[in-house]
Symmetry: D2
Subunit: 328 residues, 4 copies
């Protein structure tokens, strides 16, 4: 018996998210704990192709658990989408003696891992790192909880000025094609309306709802809009539409943007990263491959990478209902 | 069919926690949504005895979702522990036409509710509000997530100064007899050692562990101590003990204290409060009583109040293990 | 001898800024201290015209010192720009027995006050409240210090993601026609380049500077741009220009927007508000008019309102130089 | 003409404070700008004696401006208080070719510099780094503004729980023998009473004042106490005294402690650090010695080190008065 793998590598890939450093730290420390060598790969698949490697010890990840971003940097690699690129990458890993890989990233990054594994039978384990929470097989992706708080705190500040001026604010939050950030920050910030891709409210109904809110005595309002909202209009067009139809409001727009990807991770994200990193290493050492580690019912679980890529998290219907009731 | 209850009351009781205002707001808004009258009771059971009531409308809870503390105030009531006190309280509720009660608080407050119900058959529903996360029947109590982040951010700051001076810090966090805050903030803040009531590490082993950490190249260290730690020594005695046995360290103590009970709630706590408040009202309207609403596997669930009081959440063994690995 | 004024009013006018509530609190408490009645006027000059008044006691400003926005709300009033509007406003003040007015706002609001005083000889005192720091006669306007920190913390988060991806970010901050926020947050956030209205760097030189920074080993960069920058291009055009000329960078844009106007004020702004509010009341009581209270060399000073309106704060040349040296 | 000094060193000494890293960065970048070599000395005077040096380039201070603590670490050195210690230190500096020294620290550290200069005629320039703001010759020391905000935000959280329970809180803040932090955070957090070393209120008057505040309708109160308060009682004894004499209050104590020394510096502290670092280098290069750089009236100024050590900042009488008026 014993460890099936004696040397592993870890990298971050795709868009960065808060908690990636905590996950790197956890992978490196777990490897050290199991007396397994660990190599850091810079800039994801691109660094794998270029052999941009660095050995990592338990001490090399001191003082990073609280940092946003990723010390291993991230990138998107076109070259890795080619057979030649992947061949180079494999050569580099083999030459370095690396026998397994932990990929911290989103579904694009996992797809790369699945292809790589299918071609070279190289063990890969995924850790879901993205603020969008759009990965199947985990209730929370790394960075999602932090992004919720970052966005919500920004909306809290916007509400100060909205309610001082009887203004209506459209605030766009991130989330790609998923409304998780919008729905949760909308409820958390007490928004009057929340527009998400999963539910097409319709412009008419939004207007009706804002008018009702106004009649009920609210003099200022916040509408939270997911970036991937499918109303057919972007946030500026929505604002124009409402301004035309509700001249009693001064309408303003704020696009929160990239700050949502940064910042020191919350306690939840740091603990999650620590738990997932340990499990990822244990799975690799155990000879497992092609799975993603995630959280379900507060337990660490594994999901087939292919399922994780194809599946989709659905928005919580009950929370949608709560959101409606809250804007009574 | 119809609503079994036409007028309800809501109150906060026991120690306050972030998210209580969000829960009050949710109860009031849900009541308004279901066209049920809602009365706010000030200062918990004491206000119930004194008839310290205020009618609440959907608008009376504007702009409180983000506030720490509780606008209904909280108190501990000795009088309610007497039969006479409870009789007065019942008279006041009856006179006001209140037919059901939502109690936001901890297990002491729930015990009061169970007794009251047994005597007067008065419908009561509990919402678990405490930073300690020590209530059975919910994975998260209201305010716990916020307290984790407040404590962790304070420890982050302490680490700045610890690592500038090669110091060892003992940081005491809250949690009564439960180690949830200590374990999670310890992992989140990257503490070298975590002392919790659920696991008696022993002074010898702690010392050994700190010495190992020092030998491994760490020049500063944080030990997170739960207030209810059972080592037989308080945090100051622990510090003295280590200082005597490891003269190479300057040892310092910080007791984080009551700031952990305050602050604006995190997105998680605000969303949780919104969900639990709605469910509590729906249960009351439905004729239910003697249950606590809580979160399990990200779903809102109900638990018998008696079970919630008697049961105990146990600390996550896997996280203990992760914590050990992280301090490699 | 004695007080020349027995009843005063306070209002906030124009764009809101953090610290306005602290200033209202200070004016109200100082009035109470000097046994002077105090009326709050809602929505600035518009509320004055509509007689939207509320009596304020020392207790009515409890628990507002830490709140962003303004509990008296703010507005811009076209009607006050007419003789008729001002006549109505005067009638309302007279009828209420108000003998002096504290205006918390920017130079537009002060201009209204000067005109009003010239027509009705009505005593007015200004407190400079704006995040832009563009008012002559004070080293700091109310809200400026808070806005600096809000913007800087957002840029800190953006840097996390910028440095994870070797990206170049253009971040637009507020400040109207003044570069105070851009220059200070740029230095504070360690920006590679800062574009302000007071200094036209020129696109060529900016490009040169970014290339130098890149050659020197920096792989990511932040350029902070004041909203009133006079390069003839807005922030999106700047980004396009650089992307064309430096294809090695991925360029991104973030407009921080209205969140900069909100949030809980910093200690500096709360203390400043407390000091200015007291002085404003003391001046009114003393029979003074047409002056603005402000801070110079950490002392509270008075400036003629007309001077405050006409004068201009100039950007600190030494800080510009420091900024150049920091980007070495 | 020309630079009088071609190689300098920088170190941090004594208690650390937020902004020290920003100052190190500024010194290093300014040295690079003036093509002057720069050496970092670890652990202050102790590292000087041990020759614990590291060369620093403009790139070696990337990404530290926002970090609390000091990357050069700090220490107190008993050995440097001996002639032999200082001789060793001088030998190390000479051997390394270092011709001037920037000391970031408090008056204890400056005293060491003055003695060293008197013995070896070695050029030293001081940058005032301490949260206590107790150094003559500058209106603000590095870290003071950050500490004010850290302490005030903690008190804001404590107020949440204080006002939920009608409690009276005694909160001890740092400041050694100076009341700057207590007075400013007390005013900023809206404390009902502020106890500072510079003004002995007397226990009787404090009690009277708290009773008055209670009668005026306040149900909860915060008393901010400077650690060096001269009432003859420590914060716990004060609490006991009040609890005995005002049984209507539940009294609690919170000692904020070392978290006040850490955390990411505010914009003010980062900008101040950048300005002072540049000036310190320019002075050294210019052949100056034995001066401290500081801020007066928002201008960077120099003060004789001896004066800086002997002089004392006095508390702002006007702010004391404002504080009294605010608690009306």
């Amino acid at each position: 018996m014993g460890q099936k793998v004696k040397k592993i590598a870890v990298m971050t890939s795709g868009g960065d998210s808060p908690g990636m450093n905590a996950a790197i730290r956890s992978v490196v420390r777990a490897a050290a704990y199991y007396r397994t060598e660990c190599i850091g790969i810079y800039r994801g698949y691109q660094g794998m192709i270029e052999g941009d490697f660095t050995p990592m010890s338990a001490r090399s990840v001191n003082n990073i658990i609280h940092k946003g971003g990723t010390i291993l940097k991230s990138a998107r690699s076109k070259e890795f989408m080619t057979k030649e690129g992947r061949a180079k990458a494999y050569e580099n890993l083999k030459e370095e003696g690396i026998e397994g890989l932990v990929i911290i990233g989103g579904d694009g990054s996992f797809t790369g891992g699945v292809v790589f594994n299918s071609e070279y039978n190289f063990p890969v384990i995924g850790i879901p790192g993205t603020i969008d929470n759009d990965i199947y097989g985990t209730s929370h992706t790394l960075g999602y909880d932090t992004a919720l708080n970052t966005a919500m705190e920004a909306i809290d500040k916007i509400r100060d000025t909205a309610s001082s001026h009887n203004r209506l604010f459209f605030v766009e939050v991130m989330g790609r094609d998923a409304g998780f950030i919008a729905l949760n920050t909308g409820v958390g910030a007490g928004a009057e309306e929340i527009l998400i891709p999963e539910e097409d409210l319709g412009l008419e109904r939004m207007l009706e709802s804002l008018k009702k809110s106004r009649r009920s005595g609210k003099s200022s309002s916040i509408v939270v809009v997911a970036e991937g909202d499918k109303s057919g209009k972007n946030v500026y067009q929505l604002a124009d539409y409402v301004e035309e139809n509700m001249p009693e409001y001064e309408v303003r727009v704020s696009v929160l943007g990239h700050m949502q990807r940064g910042g020191s991770p919350t306690c939840f994200d740091r603990v999650l990263a620590s738990r997932l990193g340990v499990r990822a290493v244990e799975l690799l050492i155990d000879g497992k491959s092609n799975v993603m580690v995630g959280l379900k019912d507060n337990e660490v679980v594994s999901t087939d990478l292919e399922k994780a890529i194809k599946g989709q998290n659905s928005i919580d219907k009950e929370l949608l209902r709560v959101s409606d009731i809250m804007t009574t």
